[in-house]
Symmetry: C2
Subunit: 553 residues, 2 copies
């Protein structure tokens, strides 16, 4: 029996496309430093915190056509945080470009995420090894982890390991937090007069690490296409059977980019966008009433079926539920022993209701019993409610069901309601990267090498023009600090990369908002089908709708 | 904005491949009647019940190369039961072949399943209409339903509608029950000296409608490939993150073909096969202990992650759980009022424990509380436990968790256990049919037309040689009664098509069984990736592993 699937074998032979100036001889490549982006309002404070690295310019990579000789480079790479399709291709791009610049270059992969740097656990990336992982999903080549390198001590330890290994650069592939820490590490190295570059690569399926110069984080394209495949299939099932309402929760804790893109791809009957809920200070009741009213209206056309998308992080964005969770955390923390002595759910619930504020007590009472139980039982080691474990999709179903019963009692609703619930997250984080993500990531690896060979540090790899054909993509580097702002974290003001939330004034949301009432009533499903790696250009190379609407013509 | 996805548009242009003898001029097609299959042990009883149609031979379709003139045919078609990818292509195949035989032929689609026949609700299938549905998933062209045509009165009504519409034939696309009823309807029509043919087409994603002459039911190929895509992605995530055990429940109530094929495609750490559980009379406890022991063994290699597949119908196959459910149904049925007076779960549970048999009471006590609640609360309108609503994957997780705690207490287990649960079913029933299912279904439509034009009735469309290239497929027709046996249903002996369960002596299961201990301990994941419709032959045209092992060389 074969140890690889057929697609796996064939896919490894795929040659990712590269932007024009990266596709030839890259020895003679260089850059133009360009003033881009608006003045950062926090530049004063950031300059204080990052005296050496703050204030650099965006660099646009261009082929200077000089054929200078490059010394071999020794580079370390690490994957940080949750999986995103394309990670392996960043490493493959790094490997190939380092080798192109000088065949004596070496690439070291730190194992199991940033802790691999601190523990100095690493593996040499060889051609034999990387060839097994080209264009594949997952982070299993070197693993990943959630350890953060953020303390002075950790910076020291990292420096020591990089020195020991004689690294010219460290490439950190991660999300907003990991890139923030990359910038701080770059500053630390620079302040020690070390010439070790630190380069960040923007990764996250959530799509919330972006700006004008970082048009998309890698992995978003593949993940949303995988979820959209499934949502489309379920829509078709829903329409064919005509008897179920499917409630689908989608990964994405802080931002609803995934839900929004999936909505644009598949046109379900209703999609909740957390950013809008927060902006409008929408109550849970009003979200439920909205969904119930969609169901009632469709039932009048005898369509007792439909699909609703719910972003994973929704409940934290609902003001009164957020307050309730905070109050429970505090109450149970302050009265640990007393609460532990209440042995049945009935007694716990009674005690809680007495001690919560009036509003929170009412919100708690409005929740279905099993969600109340989840709030009280499933707490983390610090005693806090585990928001990610709350089955929001079931909460919504139960509350909608209750609302529909009321509407049935008063004669407003005459339909039938049966439901199914789904949660899609892990299904898409390790899919084979789409051609877009395979090309994008491989190019980012090349860009990292160029930035390193130009001795730049504290930069994030960037490509603009992503909605155009790959040959027209514009590679560059963005000073990470350019994306930063100051935020309070645990009582202290810290430099952070601000999460890019769904812009309610942006084209993707506005396009969705203009159509949603139509989609709610009139079945308008679109079935994207599975990601295609072969076939006509428009089938296998199209970017996301979000990207087209934000950046396309 | 476009109303179709790019793939949807391109896919509609796909020309399904046809077996050699169906690909040319089909006007001159004919058949050879061939003695096939073993003597049916129930032939005496079946002959009594189906005096006119029983005892027919398998027909092998061959191109006789005569160019006889065919009169226009008027055919009705209906989709019955759950969705399966390819249903639209059976109708497209029917449409094109009827048109080929005589352009004045007509095709009528009954709406919403068999009830469409009884209510005489139908739509004319035109070229314009069918062109919108070629090679697409779902049953939304004419809908489907679960009404069964099985009573004398329903037969009469069906005959009346077919006569009114002057149909030459009725094509019933469905699973084992629908094909059984097709055979009975064929007999009914024949006994009335009506020349209206009734032809069945084997559909079900469950894969449990098959025999030597029906090598696969359509939809199985696409559904298992969709689930395998997702399982492979989750395996890669599990391996990359190294911190979760994923428990995945898969659709398939009576048979575990889906779980078995997915196991062969993706090599997860453990897969439960219901047929084996039943054969070995395995207790729930022993299933849990098996899984826990896999987890313990992997933890010794520091692999605190993995993937377990669980077939949807499992709990009904566990003898003592099956008995418990029967007892609960009976007890709650006999003591409806008394039970209704018990207002808390605690009181209900206490009452039940007193009244259950000793063994069932013990089994009930061993179940996690929320599963106990599901058994008592979620009952259908007849008061019966709703087996399909029981979250078997969570039941298994909770019991494994408990077992691991015991093993930790006695020092056997030192690992960490965190879990995620998934259920895949609706995600695959309406996917765009794979090339295999698109070709297979389209060919089945052609075969139906040939069988009709030859005035055969009570036949099911058949293709043998499915593991070979399409050009070598052998089209034919199988008398449905050849698949039948006698079974007790509601106290009466009835003719039924026996469900084809996983054969524990068959090559697919034996191949799996020979490898599973290795897969349990040593991470051997295979990542099939998304279904491809374009690309190299081996990527986009391969049949299932089950089919290759059963029928391949």
């Amino acid at each position: 029996m074969e140890n690889y699937s057929v697609l796996d074998k064939v896919r490894k032979q795929y040659n990712p496309k590269l932007p024009g100036c990266l596709s030839g001889n890259i020895s003679g490549i260089g850059y133009d430093a360009v003033e881009k982006g608006e003045e950062n309002p926090e530049s004063g404070k950031l300059k204080q915190l990052l005296p050496v690295t703050f204030g650099k310019k965006y660099v646009k990579i261009t082929n200077k056509n000089t054929s200078r000789e490059n010394k071999p480079l020794s580079v370390g790479v690490v994957l940080s945080g949750g999986q995103a399709p394309g990670g392996h291709n960043v490493i493959a791009g790094l490997f190939d470009s380092l080798n192109k610049i000088n065949p004596k270059s070496t690439l070291t992969g730190f194992l199991g995420g940033p802790s691999g740097i601190l523990d100095n656990k690493a593996v040499a990336i060889t051609k034999e090894l990387i060839d097994k992982y080209r264009n594949t999903g997952g982070f299993d080549l070197i693993g990943s982890g959630r350890t953060k390198i953020e303390t002075e001590e950790q910076f020291e330890k990292s420096l020591q390991v990089c020195r020991e290994r004689k690294l010219d650069a460290l490439v950190i592939i991660g999300g907003d937090d990991s890139n923030t820490n990359a910038a701080l590490l770059a500053e630390f190295f620079a302040s020690k007069k070390e010439s070790i570059s630190v380069i960040g690569v923007p990764k996250t399926i959530d799509g919330d690490l972006k700006c004008d110069l970082i048009e998309a984080s890698f992995g978003f394209d593949t993940a949303v296409k995988t979820y959209s495949e499934l949502i489309g299939n379920i829509e078709r099932d829903s329409k064919s059977a005509g008897k179920y309402w499917h409630f689908i929760k989608l990964m994405g804790r802080s931002a609803s980019h995934i839900a929004l893109e999936c909505a644009l791809q598949t046109r379900p009957n209703w999609t909740v966008i957390s950013e809008e809920v927060q902006k409008k200070s929408q109550s849970l009741e009003s979200i439920i009433n909205e969904i119930a009213s969609v169901i009632v209206n469709r039932s009048k056309n005898n369509e007792n079926y439909g699909v609703v998308l719910i972003p994973e992080g929704l409940i934290e964005f609902i003001p009164e539920v957020g307050s309730l969770i905070k109050e429970i955390n505090k109450l149970l923390g302050d009265n640990e022993q007393q609460f532990a002595s209440l042995l049945t759910f009935e007694k716990q619930s009674e005690w809680l209701t007495k001690n919560l504020s009036g509003i929170s007590s009412k919100v708690f009472a409005s929740l279905p019993k099993n969600i109340q139980e989840q709030l009280l039982m499933d707490r983390d080691p610090h005693g806090n409610v585990q928001v990610s474990k709350i089955e929001t999709e079931k909460l919504v179903i139960l509350m909608v069901e209750k609302r529909l019963k009321e509407l049935k009692a008063d004669g407003t609703y005459k339909g039938k309601f049966s439901s199914q619930n789904h949660f899609f997250g892990y299904e898409g984080r390790c899919a084979f990267p789409s051609n877009f993500d395979a090309d994008y990531c491989y190019s980012l690896g090349f860009i990292a090498t160029v930035l390193i060979s130009e001795r730049l540090t504290g930069y994030m790899t960037s490509i603009t023009g992503l909605s155009k054909p790959v040959s027209e993509w514009v590679p560059g580097g963005v000073p990470i600090s350019m994306l930063m702002t100051m935020e309070e974290r645990k009582g202290k003001m810290k430099p952070v990369i601000k999460k890019a939330l769904v812009e309610l004034e942006g084209t993707p949301f506005k396009t969705f908002a203009a159509k949603r009432d139509e989609w709610a009533l009139k079945t308008s499903y679109i079935y994207p089908g599975a990601i295609q790696y072969f076939g006509p250009d428009e089938v296998c190379n199209a970017p996301t709708i979000t990207l087209m609407l934000e950046k396309g013509k």
